[in-house]
Subunit: 413 residues, 2 copies
């Protein structure tokens, strides 16, 4: 099967955004064993879009379009597909009802222009988009497929995974199985070093990706059956886990926060936090997890020294060691725990930057996790990067320390 | 001048790398006022490359190629240009001498395959590449220009800046100026409706983009001088602002949080927050802004009802109206303010989902901003989407309410 990608949007041609969708889809097609011969970016212009789509459909079996499905006059993907196939769009009553329900649930009347998002043509099967207003189009005729998906990356990726991929997979002869190991507390090059020769395998393949919240090790195997591909991945996973030890905190969609919370909930433990330099980011990450209220009682964003002192950090600690100290982090963890009557407390203090503070450089961060006044885990780090990057790395490090602390408590018990 | 970009390399089509060169060049062309109509990625295949280049040269005045200038058999940009122009490559003695000197300076003998990097054709002026082995090609004939540059980004950017740009600039008569208006409290289609006819202008052009923290309205004008382009933008900006009113909260790189904080700091006001459903996200966004400690004293993530009650929400309020109520939001705003001695307090309570709470559906959010016990602004909303989306929209809405509250307080004073 020969494929081609069309990325639509004048903002691409103005250089306002990069075409990350094409890179994602290219990688997906590679793992499906589908040949990708061309990627084209075209602006919001009906003539150029139609011409490009016609050529793509002439020379390829599968054309994947992203963008141009919005409600405005500049969104022309539907018009272009209809023109190339010579079919006339009409409003699909069910899609329209869903669209109106979407707006009604937000208490807004649907602008009339949005009706075009409910269009279909005879060759089209609509693809569901529960996270946005634009359904996708699966247009199949004469042995050729055109798939149109939204340009917003998270909407596109969801639609690809849940709608397009399941329709494409049966048409390719191979089955692919992938598992991602999520690694904390090591940089990408250290992970690669530890994996050593494993990284050069052909099937399964092993690839590392540095993500904001972890280093991912993706294990991918091809086989003729799902069971065979899964077995190949399982063997390789065991070897990778041996090389990486307790640094592997989870797999696939698990996050540092979901894993830490699951540990706490499984053990019936409650959690409280007091943050300074992360400014609420730790609490926000924790509360991103559905059901987090089962363990997380609450937190304090003790951004000023006055608030630290008023909410439980002893004046002597602040005076002797400063607000940016492991002693203050420890006192914050204890105070959070005691004030909210939680089993475990986390404290974070540091310098988010850009300016230094108390003579400590930007990126200095102290983190403590306390179960009782005595049972405390702590770490001091110096992170690099912009302010938001330092906040992020501090919060992720705290979640990893929390995980290791709970595991150790259990081992010691 | 109409331009087109060709990015060459099979690694792009496998998704191994992203086409950051195209984004860079697109932005450069935009600021030169050169229209970019197409970007194409093609693999290392002479037939497909020649076909794509021929079409590009037919329909555009300027074709910018990156990649395919290496010494291997897979590097085919020179061959494709020669084929399209019908000219025959020959080794340029001066380029060959420079190439041999480059290798000699590193103490390596030049592999013979590298000789092709010294090729030229009659229409070509070579472009110097002091940071790599591949010179670029400036191929000009019949009023059409083809520029071929290396694919390695830093080599390409240097060559663009020092070799291609100085040759192009005198040929463009135009200068471009852009300003982005950032809009809060309205969806993208409402913004478009309000802008009405303005959206159809040719110069300046006006385009809307839905971002996570705002709807952006980008105003772009072309003129022969920077001052003239800026004046055109200023006129259009005034009309757009009239249509959008106080919904325009900032321009360009400003964010809801940077604008709200700047307002507070300019008036010498301090801020405190008490959050429930946003779980610390509001505080985290605020503390993303460098210098936020000048206004932000701290916050409470009152995730449990017990913590709400212990930190200032009256029991009667919780019992009579429930934790998910505008009364509780108001009490939280007041409590945050009073506990930390801040001038302004923000309170947020709601249902982040996915499950309903107190019989209220996911997405229900109540927000209050209080300056004194009496001077309170509040809003109740129902947001759609996943948990993190609801948190995000609640926090952004709170920042907008905070901004409007401070502006109103000032007007009323």
């Amino acid at each position: 099967m020969r494929a081609e990608i069309l990325s639509i949007g004048t903002e691409l041609l103005l250089g306002h955004i990069s075409d990350t969708n094409a890179t994602y889809l290219a990688r997906q097609l590679t793992t499906l064993g589908i040949d990708l011969f061309y990627v084209s970016q075209v602006g919001d212009n009906l003539g150029r879009l139609t011409e490009t789509l016609r050529r793509a459909r002439d020379r390829s079996d599968l054309v994947i379009m992203t963008g141009g499905l919005g409600p405005t006059e500049d969104d022309l993907s539907r018009e272009a597909i209809a023109a190339v196939l010579g079919e006339t769009p009409a409003v699909d009553p069910q899609l329209e009802a869903e669209l109106r329900a979407f707006f009604a649930s937000r208490g807004i009347e649907m602008p009339e222009r949005n009706v075009k998002q409910a269009w279909v043509i005879p060759s089209v099967t609509p693809l569901a988009n529960p996270v946005g207003t634009a359904p996708g189009w699966w247009a199949e005729r004469d042995g050729k497929i055109v798939v149109a998906m939204p340009g917003v990356p998270h909407e596109m990726m969801r639609m690809w995974e849940h709608e397009a991929l399941p329709r494409l997979r049966p048409r390719t002869g191979t089955v692919l199985f992938t598992r991602t190991l999520r690694v904390a507390g090591m940089g990408e090059s250290t992970v690669e070093e530890r994996l050593g020769e494993l990284i050069h395998g052909e099937n399964p393949t092993l690839a590392t990706y540095a993500k904001r919240d972890a280093v991912d090790v993706r294990v991918t195997a091809k086989a003729t059956t799902a069971a065979a591909a899964e077995a190949l991945v399982a063997q390789m996973e065991a070897r990778a886990r041996e090389a990486l030890g307790a640094h592997v905190f989870g797999v696939d969609a698990q996050t540092p926060q979901s894993v830490a919370l699951a540990l706490l909930i499984a053990r019936g433990l409650t959690l409280a936090a007091m943050e300074s330099c992360t400014g609420g980011l730790l609490a926000s990450l924790i509360t991103d997890v559905p059901g987090s209220s089962a363990a997380f009682l609450g937190g304090f964003v003790a951004y000023s020294i006055a608030m630290k002192a008023a909410y439980g950090v002893p004046r002597e600690t602040l005076e002797q060691h400063g607000a940016i100290s492991v002693e203050t982090a420890r006192a914050m963890a204890r105070a959070a725990r005691e004030r909210l009557g939680a089993d475990v407390g986390v404290g974070i203090t540091g310098v988010a930057g850009p300016a230094e503070q108390e003579g400590k450089p930007a990126g200095t961060v102290h983190i403590a996790v306390a179960s009782t006044a005595e049972r405390v885990s702590e770490t001091s780090q110096r992170f690099r990067g912009a302010r938001s990057e330092i906040k992020w790395r501090a919060a992720i490090t705290a979640l990893n320390l929390l995980r290791l602390h709970v595991l150790r408590e259990e081992r010691d018990a």
